[in-house]
């Protein structure tokens, strides 16, 4: 049986993978506690090597990819960190052959470890631990039992919080006046909330932040690669023809709330994707290279605490990248040499060690917090599990007051219209959500951003 890390919250709940999934009761991070997402991992359709939509021999595809890399100028490399540190490092080497770096779209901020949650007396949280990072909940409960005061700032009431400050897009400035003091801050840092998290990181003591991140190895990837661009900037530059070729390693730009932005991908001269799953992105690519499934790669993974975890499995992805390096006339690379280099780069000597916390947020989003006028808003309350296709919540959350004012009945649909059109969706009634807010855990086709102004008609 292989030790694996679930790409959901990447805390490392201690899964084993064989023909069936099993879990480690003595997993160092999680003591054998489980959430359902990891258990659903093995449902995937594997991507096959392809050129121009046609299946090809892997060696042909590799040489085609390396040819394209040599031909095309202004190539961008993107890897969110859905691969092991070793593969990320190999990818960074590949990018450097054309004088580029790898963009991870998430800054390399490494905060405090979860033990700090347990020892805190005051906690300020900006997440919904029940759905976004469920494995954090246990530690918050522990702290609460020991007398910690939990204050939550979120779009709805969080049950565990002693005090829930309910945010509203129309008064988003509220977060600027929070008195953080010495409180521990639990924050989610992901490609879509950079402005929001930047605002918070800049106004509290950075050593007190437990910084949650999505994807398998966001932390490791962002420490090993230096590219500093947000996913929006990359799409913009493609549109402006500043980027002509794009190589995506297990990274799906379809996470952006506005699907219209993805039309930029059509402007590319060449799109190479290397990923395990077959999906509409691999259908769209000029060249498709296979990869180990996110949870099947062998190597080192850093969880959001900055703790190095070991995963066991295959090294197919690394071999492919190494082959491309070889056919480009560069030095080949192997798992063993990569592994040694990863450890020295991260400054650790063995698995289970923590890397030194990194509090410099070099990465600066261009924009300030957006302002929203009055009216109603649809908020995309994404969870990392959704991005890994392991959550199936196809409904939005609204307040009882809104349901009453729209005269909605059970099993009815909520109709919403934005500048992009209309949608009718199932809904759940949740107390303590503002009446002008609709929370959607899934990306709706009418969304134009994380927060979309809407009308109910």
């Amino acid at each position: 049986m292989n030790k694996i890390v679930c790409p959901g919250c990447n805390l490392g709940c201690g899964l084993y993978m064989n023909d069936v999934l099993y879990f480690r009761k003595n997993a160092p991070v999680n003591s054998g506690k489980l959430c359902k997402f990891g258990m659903k991992l093995h449902k995937y359709e594997k991507a096959l090597p392809m050129i121009g939509g046609k299946e090809e021999e892997l060696s042909n595809v590799i040489s085609a990819a390396s040819k394209k890399l040599a031909e095309t100028k202004d190539f961008a490399f993107v890897s969110f960190g859905n691969v092991t540190c070793e593969e990320q490092l190999a990818f960074t080497k590949l990018a450097s052959t054309v004088g580029s770096d790898v963009y991870t779209c998430i800054p390399g901020f490494v905060g405090a470890d979860i033990e700090k949650i347990r020892q805190s007396t005051e906690i300020i949280t900006f997440i919904d631990p029940y759905t976004t990072y469920p494995l954090i909940l246990r530690h918050m409960l522990y702290a609460k039992e020991n007398g910690a005061k939990i204050t939550s700032y979120y779009w709805k009431k969080i049950r565990i919080a002693d005090e829930s400050v309910i945010l509203n897009p129309t008064e988003i400035d509220k977060i600027k006046s929070i008195d953080f003091g010495d409180s521990l801050v639990i924050l989610d840092l992901n490609p879509l909330n950079l402005e929001f998290s930047n605002e918070i990181i800049n106004s509290c003591n950075r050593e007190n932040i437990v910084c949650l991140k999505p994807f398998l190895n966001s932390t490791g990837a962002s420490l090993l690669s230096g590219g500093e661009k947000s996913i929006y900037q990359i799409l913009d530059e493609i549109k402006e023809k500043k980027i002509k070729g794009l190589y995506l390693l297990e990274s799906d730009p379809r996470i952006v709330p506005d699907d219209a932005l993805l039309s930029a991908l059509d402007k590319l001269d060449v799109l190479i994707v290397q990923q395990s799953a077959h999906n509409s992105l691999s259908d769209r690519a000029n060249i498709v290279l296979p990869n180990d499934r996110t949870f099947e790669g062998k190597g080192t993974v850093l969880n959001f605490e900055g703790r190095a975890l070991e995963t066991e499995g295959k090294t197919e992805g690394i071999k492919i990248i190494s082959e491309i390096l070889k056919s480009a006339g560069k030095e080949e690379t192997s798992y063993d040499s990569l592994h040694a280099e990863v450890l020295s780069k991260l400054g650790i000597t063995e698995i289970d060690e923590y890397v030194v916390p990194e509090h410099n947020l070099v990465y600066k989003p261009e924009t300030e917090l957006k302002k929203y006028e009055g009216g109603s808003h649809l908020i995309y309350v994404y969870t990392p599990f959704l991005w890994n296709n392991t959550i199936d919540r196809d409904f939005v959350e609204i307040s009882p007051g809104l349901a009453e004012s729209l005269n909605l009945h059970k099993d009815g649909l909520l109709k919403m219209t934005s500048s992009k059109g209309s949608a009718a969706v199932k809904y759940k009634i949740v107390e303590d959500v503002p009446d002008n807010v609709v929370l959607s855990p899934m990306k709706l086709p009418i969304s134009t951003d994380v927060i979309t102004p809407i009308e109910f008609k």
Binding site: Y22, K36, I160, K428
Partner: protein
């Protein structure tokens, strides 16, 4: 040898004898069952460390030998692994070591036609309780002042928990450990089934000498298991001594008494109706709808789960129907194995909730689950 016999036995293989607990009998019985073609596969707990075991299903004798040794701090239930075996090989035969809760889970599944008990050889293990691995590691550091990585052997003997390292051996009484919040898992403390009388043979070190195992044979299958191993020359036996039998009985009755005391302490009745209502509301409030408790439950046997049939994450109910249906649905079969509490990421004391309900139902219908195949599941109506 006859059914009902009580003997002591040990492995003839020196290596197994050394690695395995109490003379390595269980490992030898498993290897013998494979070698003598009594079974197609065996399930065993592969030791990763003193605090972790991974259940494996194998027909390879060498792999089984690697699995020897007792793991008190790897509280795993093997029932679902047996269910999976029969899903894959409906006509296959299987042997596995079974603590009382494994055996009871297997019998409940057999009643629901998920396991063919006639083709399952249950090698029972006497059990005084298992320990949660992470807490145990902490306990070693605090109470024993031993580095968990140095432990080479652990054992429970005469109410004391013993840990051995290369250099030393330390014993502390379980009562003392449990006072300090360590020791056995909560559900093991109040478990009254210590000798698995529902299996084919019950093995244990109570009443046995050093490097031997006390065995009681319960069934025809058990007899077959033992004779097979003797014929293959893998084990040796001797009659149990009168003194040994007495010690075993006494240990068992002491354990039962302690369990009853714990039961009383943990299951304090909540007399007030409203208080009960708020207790259930509060305790289930933090559920994150992950269904992990269902995934690990050894007695849960629906093909299409009843508990999620009426449950929709879209509902905004005060108490989750998922849990209520589950409480109802396994109230007759809950064996109190503690897997659901172990796995819950929101720290809901699920085993206690299930036992509260199950105690009522099982007392009402005078039904103890997992003891034998005679009584059908209590839901059955004539």
């Amino acid at each position: 040898m006859n059914i009902g016999d009580r003997i002591v036995a040990w492995s003839k293989d020196e290596e197994i004898k050394k690695e395995g607990a109490s003379g390595g009998l269980v490992t030898s019985l498993l290897t013998a069952a494979l070698k003598g073609e009594l079974v197609d596969e065996v399930i065993a707990l592969q030791k990763v460390s003193e605090f972790e075991g991974v259940p494996i299903r194998t027909s390879n004798v060498d792999e089984v030998i690697k699995c020897s040794g007792s793991l008190h701090a790897a509280p795993i239930n093997l029932t679902k692994f047996a269910v999976r075996f029969f899903e894959a090989h409906p006509d296959g035969t299987l042997a596995l070591p079974a603590k009382p809760c494994d055996a009871r889970g297997i019998i409940e599944q057999a009643k629901r036609k998920k396991i063919n008990l006639e083709k399952t050889y249950l090698i029972g293990l006497n059990c005084g309780g298992t320990m949660p691995p992470i807490t145990t590691m902490k306990m070693l550091e605090k109470m024993y002042e031993i580095n968990p990585d140095d432990v080479i052997e652990e054992e429970i003997e005469r109410g004391k928990l013993i840990f051995k390292t290369e250099k030393e051996e330390k014993a502390i009484s379980i009562d003392e450990l449990e006072e300090a919040g360590y020791g056995r898992r909560e559900n093991c403390r109040y478990c009254e089934t210590n000798i698995p009388v529902m299996t084919d043979v019950a093995c244990g070190n109570w009443g046995a000498g050093k490097n031997e195992t006390f065995v009681e044979i319960f069934t025809e299958k058990g007899l077959k298991l033992m004779n097979n191993a003797i014929e293959l020359g893998l084990i040796e036996t001797a009659p149990a001594t009168e003194k040994g039998i007495k010690i075993r009985e006494k240990t068992n009755s002491v354990m039962e008494k302690v369990a009853k005391k714990w039961h009383k302490k943990i299951f304090v009745p909540i007399e007030d109706r409203l208080e009960r209502f708020h207790y259930y509301m509060d305790v289930m409030e933090d559920c994150i709808d992950c269904e992990a408790c269902k995934y690990v439950c050894p007695v849960c046997a629906c093909d299409e789960s009843k508990c999620i049939d009426f449950y929709d994450p879209m509902d905004s109910h005060k108490i989750s129907i998922y849990h209520l249906v589950r409480l109802l649905h396994i109230s007759d079969s809950c064996i109190g194995c503690g897997q659901c509490t172990d796995v819950c990421p929101a720290e809901i004391p699920l085993t206690i909730l299930h036992r509260r309900m199950a105690d009522r139902i099982q007392a009402k219908y005078d039904y103890i689950p997992g003891m034998d195949m005679k009584i059908p599941p209590s839901f059955e109506v004539e």
